[in-house]
Structures are given as C-alpha cells and as structure tokens.
C-alpha cells in the first residue's frame, strides 16, 4: 500500500474539516484561523518542522496560559478558548514527526474541535463539516491501522477502503438513529444559533424609501422570514401582502414616515381585535436585518416577541411607531406572534394630521403629473373608481424592469414620461402621487408579497420585498398595487439563485429538525408513527404515511442485516471445522468414536459405512489439505454420514468424547 502520504493528507484534511466546524461560527478569532491555515498548508506540502516537539509544546503551553488569562480577564469566551486550544494542539501535532501516536492525537484533538463546533455553531455547514470529518478520519485511521500493523503484503488502498466506507455508512446511519430516538432529557438551552451564513442581512428597512435605486433585491433568494399560519391555507404559494412600514411624506425623491414612537410594551394592539383573525408565528431569520416586525396585511396584534441570542433566549419589548411595530434591541433571530385581519381588509382610515400628510404633494412636482392623473382617471365616477382606474392604467401602460439607469433628477417624472418602466417602488410612488393629485389620501407601504410552502410553513425571501399603496377611499383604507401581478414576488437569478434558495430551505429544515429537535418532537414523531386508521387531513395522512414508510424502511434494514447474519452463519456451517464438529457429535452419539475420542480412530469399518468414511476423509482434506468445501457441501456430507449410519447400533467399545481441534 503506497498510502503513507495519502493517509497523512487525509488525517490533516480531517483536522481541517473539524476546524472548519468551529470556524463557521465566526467566533474563532482571525489570528487563530490564520495560524491553523498556515499549519495546514505546511503539513500538506508536506513538511514537519516540529520534529522535536519539546519547544513547540512549551510554546503551546504558553499560548494556552495566555488564552485562559484572557478568559479570566473576560476578554474571551471560555468555550472559544477551549476550541482555540484544541486547534493549536492539533496544529502542533500535525507538524510533528508522523507516528501512530501523533496520528491518534491529531484525530482526538480534531474530535474536540468537532465538539467545540457543535457548541459554537448551529449552521447547516456544521453538518457538512461533521460528515467530511467523519469520512476523512475514518479513512485515514483505517489505512493507518493497516499500515502500522506491518507484516506480510500491504493491501492495495482500494481493498481497505471498501470495508471502511461500509463502516462509515453504518456509523452515519447509527448516528441518525441515535439522534432521533435518544430521549431528550434536558431543555435545549445551549445551542448557539448560527449567524447569516451567506453574508450580511439583505433587507434592512431603512428610515426612508428613495427612488432611483436598482431593484437588485428582487433577485435575492435568501429566506428572511418563516411563518406558520393558523388557519393554514394549505396552498403551495401565497398571494398575500406582509406589511412592514408605511411612508406618508414624499419630497419628490424620497418617502419618509413622520410618526412618533409610542411606549415600549410586550404587546401592541393596532386595531380592535375581531373574530376570524389569522394567527401567525413568525421567525425573522439572520438574513432579515431589520428591527421592523412584519405581519400579514392588515396586522391587528403583535406580541410574545423573543430574541434568541447566542446562548440564551429573552423576551423582547415592542415599540409602536404609527402603524409600524419595531423590536426593542437587536438580534439575529427574532420570533413573535401576530394576528391579522386578512379577510376584512384594512381598518378605518386615519384622520387629522395623518390624513393631511397623506394628501401632501411634493413642492416641485412636475406639472405633467396632475394632468396625467386626470387623463388616466377620466370617466371615473367616484374615488374608488378613480383609484382602481389609475391602478389599472399603471399596470397595463407601464413596463416592469430591474435595470435602471441610475440616479436622475426627477425619478418620478422619468418613470412616468421617459422610461415608462420601473420596479415596484416606482409603481407605488407613481400611484400614490397620482392619487394625491386627484385629492385621494394615499401612502406607500413596504413589506413583502407572496410566500412559498416548506415543511408546513411559509418562507418569504428577500426577493419578495415589495411596495404598494394604501389609499383612503370613502372612509376606509383601500390597498392598491400598480405593479404588474407577475412581478410582485421575487424573481429567480438562474442556477445560482436556485442553489441559494435550496440552501436556505435546507438550512431552515436543519434548524427546525436538528438544532431545535426536542422531546416534544419525539413525542410527535411517536404519535405520527403510531397506526391511526382515520387521519384528519390528507396532508396529515401523507405525512404519517411517510413517517411509517421511514420506520418500516428502518425495520426492513435491520431485518435484512439480521437475515444476512443468519445466512452468513448458515453458510459458515459449510466450513470444515463445522463439519468436523458435526461428524464428531454424530459419531459420539452413536458410540463410534475411538478410544482417544478422535475422528481418526472412529470405528467406521464395514462396507455400509463407506460413505461415512468418505465424509471423514473429505473433512480431513478440507481441513488440512487446502481443498475447501464448496458452499453446501458440508451439509451434504453430513447427511451422507447420517444416512450411512442409518439404523446401525453403537459399536462395541465405549465411546469417548473429544471435540476436534482447530478453527
């Protein structure tokens, strides 16, 4: 086996995977990352400059002392310090002279790093790092054990890889089974939720909405929130509006809100509750990046908000700012409940100064805009008709595009009269201004449109960010959306977008089914697996059926393994030693063993016992003559011996029992 270099490379790469499991948390300091990467590169060259490990061990000890001094001085987290210690130890061992002992130490220190990664990070990438580490470590260790044994001919690497890969598959399957069935006897309080694994947050509701920017966000597939709705619509795609923030002041280029913040509280009531509200359990994910809470249009109540920090969860206060609700404090991950009046539509229109602000036009408004408003709404009999006519006109006469030329002096006039194409912000601004030009109070709302189903929940992506208009018509608020319907939700960006979308969906499943797996989930799983003839819903029946299928597949797998073991045992009964033992037992029962108790001096004379003698001869040949028995031959020989003995009685001499020797 020409495997020494390969084995060491596998070992070092396994250590790298273990280190990556920690590093993805973003909590390992950059200097530690750099140090480890340098050590890895040197080890892979391969160079082992720390052949005499005494000095480096001393340096390592010093580094550990410094690290823990930093912990005592509250400059470093204890877990992070432990992880860095494991990384430094691994690096030092990787660069030492290779030996079975150092290899074992590298693997064990890597295992420590994996455990550290499990504590520091909850990202899906951890699963990949764990799998990669397990694969590389198993292969490296297996090849190492064979090579270090020495003696005889070393096998080709591929001959060793086969059982090792089989072992790896069994180990991963066993780990999953253990994970699912091992009772969770404690609360899941120490899992550290991962940060935004694919870069910084994307949405970030700003204090204002400025026209003229490119609509890149529409092609961003990152999931920003997940919501569980009750009652569950059950559809794959939602056609709903998620309200975030309302803007009522427009200066010709930028929209802003002039509401003052209210008092922070645990629960915010935006309108009187009424029956038939849709309950939403919403989780804002790290990609969201804003403190503004969103809910289905029209939100009525916000409450029960919790921020999930690295190691703990706390209840959070909410701050009402006009129709908007903000979180007090900040966190990568926020969960809360909201209730919305989806069926009844928006509540009563605001009055007083708010209404006045919703009618104000920009000071330097292009004079063509009021004329356009009149032209487009010609023939409409009332405000509602005017609003609908303007909405329809913009939807049909203007094109949707994300490719904008950049900042212009009057973006609204540019959209309405020059380019005649824009994105949702342009459409919403144009409609609001046209409505105001016709004396109808209007404001721009930003939030999201749509949502796709995944694992019983709805996911909203950054690309679903949207802007629309609320107009006051006949004392009520009317939602108007001038953006062409096919462009309201996010748009894909080819293969990369598809991949990112899949990754986010996978990440959510990972968080939901692995990181947050609990005793309650185990109970639910047990309940689902239980045989229940009448399922309440088709989806439930499908899910239960899938769970049962998985259980049956697992049982089938275990059964197949047991059967294989039994068949293997049955097949091994054809071995010479087994045949020898069976013949010995047979002859002992019939009192035909010789005085020494060996098959060699068995009393098997006579013509009628010739087949028995042949069986014994064949046994000797198979056992000592290098002519192994064919599959099933042992059984035939034994039957042949039994038939030959038939009804013959015991021989005259007394039998003695000695089992045949050997394997």
């Amino acid at each position: 086996m020409k495997g020494d270099r390969l084995r060491l490379a596998l070992r070092d790469l396994a250590a790298a995977a273990a280190f990556a499991a920690m590093a993805i948390s973003g909590q390992v300091p950059p200097w530690a990352v750099g140090l480890f990467l340098v050590a890895l590169a040197v080890a892979l060259v391969p160079r082992r400059p720390l052949a005499d490990g005494r000095l480096s061990a001393l340096a390592l000890l010093l580094a550990v002392v410094v690290l823990y001094a930093a912990v005592v001085l509250d400059q470093l987290d204890l877990v992070v310090a432990a992880c860095i210690t494991a990384a430094l130890l691994t690096a030092q061992r990787m660069l030492s002279r290779p030996s079975p002992r150092t290899t074992d130490q590298v693997h064990l220190a890597s295992l420590l790093m994996i455990a550290g990664g499990a504590v520091l990070s909850a990202d899906l990438l951890f699963a990949f790092c764990l799998l990669l580490y397990a694969t590389l470590a198993v292969l490296s260790q297996g090849l190492g054990v064979v090579a270090e044994t020495g003696g005889g001919v070393l096998p080709p690497v591929r001959r060793v890889l086969r059982p090792l890969l089989l072992g790896l598959v069994l180990a991963v399957a066993g780990a999953l089974v253990f994970f699912v069935v091992f009772p969770r006897l404690s609360w899941n309080v120490a899992a550290r939720r991962g940060g935004a694994s694919l870069g910084p947050a994307t949405v970030g509701f700003a204090d204002g909405l400025r026209l003229g920017g490119a609509g890149l966000i529409k092609s961003n597939p990152r999931v920003v929130l997940r919501a569980r709705l009750d009652p569950d619509p059950g559809t794959e795609l939602l056609d709903v509006y998620w309200v975030g923030r309302r803007f009522d002041s427009f200066d010709g280029i930028q929209w802003s809100a002039s509401d003052r913040p209210g008092r922070a509280t645990h629960q915010v009531l935006l309108a009187p509750p009424e029956p038939g509200l849709v309950r939403q359990e919403i989780e804002l994910l790290p990609a969201y990046g804003s403190r503004t809470l969103v809910a289905l249009d029209t939100p009525v109540v916000f409450g029960d908000a919790q921020t999930h920090q690295t190691t703990f969860t706390v209840r959070a206060d909410l701050l009402p700012v006009g129709g908007e609700v903000r979180l007090v404090g900040s966190s990568d991950r926020v969960t809360y409940r909201a209730f919305s009046a989806v069926e009844h539509g928006p509540a009563l229109a605001p009055a007083g100064p708010e209404r006045e602000r919703s009618l104000r036009l920009p000071a330097r408004l292009d004079p063509r805009i009021p004329a356009l408003a009149r032209t487009l709404s010609q023939g409409a009999l009332n405000d509602r008709a005017v609003a609908r006519q303007l909405e329809r006109a913009l939807q049909t006469d203007y094109a949707y595009t994300l490719e904008l030329p950049g900042r212009v002096k009057d973006p609204l006039a540019d959209f309405l009269f020059s380019r005649r194409a824009g994105h949702c912000e342009d459409f919403a601004t144009a409609l609001a201004v046209l409505l105001r030009a016709r004396g109808i109070p209007a404001r721009v709302v930003v939030g999201f449109h749509g949502g796709e189903r995944a694992a019983g929940e709805y996911l909203v992506r950054a690309g679903d960010a949207h802007a629309w208009v609320e107009a006051e018509v006949e004392g009520h608020v009317l939602r108007l959306d001038a953006t062409p319907p096919q462009h309201r939700s996010g748009e894909g960006t080819g293969a990369l977008g598809w991949l990112l979308a899949r990754w986010e969906a996978l990440q959510i499943r990972w968080l939901d089914r692995v990181v947050d797996y609990s005793l309650a989930d185990q109970a639910r799983l047990a309940e689902r697996v239980r045989w229940a003839p009448g399922q309440e819903s088709r989806a439930g029946a499908r899910r239960a059926s899938a769970d049962r299928s998985v259980l049956f597949a697992l049982c089938g797998l275990v059964g197949a393994l047991l059967l294989a073991a039994l068949l293997g045992r049955a097949a091994s009964s054809g071995d010479a030693e087994q045949l020898g033992r069976s013949l010995h037992r047979l002859l002992a029962r019939r009192g035909r063993l010789g005085p020494a108790g060996w098959l060699d001096d068995a009393r098997v004379e006579g013509r009628e016992l010739a087949p028995l003698r042949a069986s014994i001869a064949r046994y000797r040949e198979a056992r000592f003559g290098r002519r192994p028995l064919a599959p099933g031959e042992g059984r035939q020989l034994l039957q042949q011996a039994r038939r030959a003995l038939g009804t013959l009685g015991p021989a005259s001499a007394s039998p003695r029992r000695h089992p045949p020797s050997g394997a």
Binding site: S121, V146, L154, P155, R159, A173, F178, S186
Partner: protein, 318 residues
Amino acid sequence: MSRRERLSRAWRRLWIPPRRLRTTAAGRTYLVLTFGVGLGALNTGNNLLYLVLGLQLSIIIVSGILSERCVRRIQVRRLLPASPRARAPFHLGWGLRLRRGQAFALTVSEVHPTLGSSVARLAWLPAGEEVTVRAVAVAPRRGPVRLRWVRLSTTFPFGLFVKIRDVELDGEILVLPARVPPPPEPPGPSSGLGLEQRSLRGPDGGGDLAQLRELREGEDARRIHWRKSAQLGTLLRVERDAQPQPRIVLQLDEGGPAERLDLACEQLAARAEVLLSRGAEVGLESSGGLSVKPSAGPSQSRIILRALARAGHERPPA
C-alpha cells in the same frame, strides 16, 4: 484426555466469551471524550452534541462489527518447529486462511504463559490462499509445551479496540535441552556413564587395509584403489577391517530439583551429540525408566534429545 480435563475444558468454554475486547490507549481517550460529549449533551441539551455523541457511539459499534468480520472466519493451522532448543530462538508459525472476505491488521500468538509474548503480524489476509506468518519464540526450559489456543486479534478498523478471538487448536512443541558445551572430561564410572567397546570385522569398515579384490558390477566406485587398478589394468576395490566403535549408554538420574535435572539433561545431550558425531553408538537410561537402545547416526541423536526433553515430564509415547 482425562475426564477431569474434559470437564475443565467444557467449563472454561462455557465461561470464556467467544470474543474479547481490549481498549488501546487511543481507545481509552476516545471513550473519555465520548463520555464527556455525552455529559455535555445531557447537561446542555445541545442537539448537535447529541449528533456528535451518536456518531461517536456508532463508531464504537461499527468498530466491533468490522473487527468481527476480520477475525470471524479465519482458519488457523499451526506450523510447529522441528527441533527447537531451550533458550534458543526458534520460529513459531501459523497458516491462516480465509474462505471469503478479507481481514486486516491481524496479530497471531499462542495463548501460553511463555510463548504467548511471541507475536506475528499480518497487515492483510486475502481470501482463498493460505498465508503463513511466523514469530520468533524462545522457550526457557526443555520439555513438552502443550498449546491449546491460538490467539487472533485485530485493531482494525480504527485502532481503538483490540478484538481477540481464541481458536482452540491442540498442539505440542517438544523443546529439546539447551545447547551447552560438552563436559570437559570424558565420563568415568563415577559419573554414572557406562562404556563398552567391541571390535567388529567387516568388509567395508573404516579400519586397516585387509585385501584388494576385483570390483563387481554395481559396487561403489569410491572404494576403487586407483593406483593398483592402473598398474594391473583392471578395477580393484579396497576392503578394510571394520573400525572399532564404542558403545556408550548414558545414565540419567531423574531425581532432584527441576533445575538440576535440566542441567543434567543439557550436559548429557551435549555429550551424546559429541559421541554420536564421533561415530559412537549411544544409548540412554534413566532412573525414571527412560531407555533408549544404543545406536549410531543422526537419527539416534534426535531420539536421545527427544527422550531427554521428556525426562521428568512424562513417559515417551510407546
């Protein structure tokens, strides 16, 4: 085998598990780490620690399965040395064969207090052919060494545990007395060694020239006297008187402590080898009833050495 011995063997088989497991140093550390991760998982409820713990436990189980696949179907044949001497290294061999599958990282040894430390290693045992492995062993004392179990073990796949399978395989090595320098003085009557000489006359002895005669067909050409044959023009062969050969019967006292008996056996063995190499007929008698008739030649040396090896242990087989 006595009834008691059979019962003892059955009892032992009942209580000794078919496989034994021993942890290596790395395995012990691994177990401590597994315990630590388990404790951490239970204490914190961190699901990822549960996942790591599951993987670690699975690795332990998989290690057991793969190592069992390695040692399970191996057939062993013992290759005993022909004439090992006490306190001298000799090769102990085993023939290993696997009908199907393959085995890795094997070590083979005897389950024996003194020979058990001699270990043979084999990195790979493919299916089909028999592979012979050897270990160098040293037996401290002469005598029969009874071997009952061959120990197969493997650290495959991860080097965390040693899976041990003891294969029952009866065998015996007869360790001959150690090689020592022969006693400096020839044996006298006081030492208990008897010596008897007799002169024999024979046609092909090694003594003085008796006569020359014509070579007959089929006779050994090495006996031709070439000078006389050349003078007379015909092939003549030499006939000599038989050389007188001493007949010596060595006497062994089997009484006394084992160390003294071992020393006596070693000295007698050395003496017998010297005498036999000189062409003497050597026999052996002991106070314990051991008796080897005097004879000459290398086979006699083997017989005497084997008899001396068994002296004090048991009677030689009839």
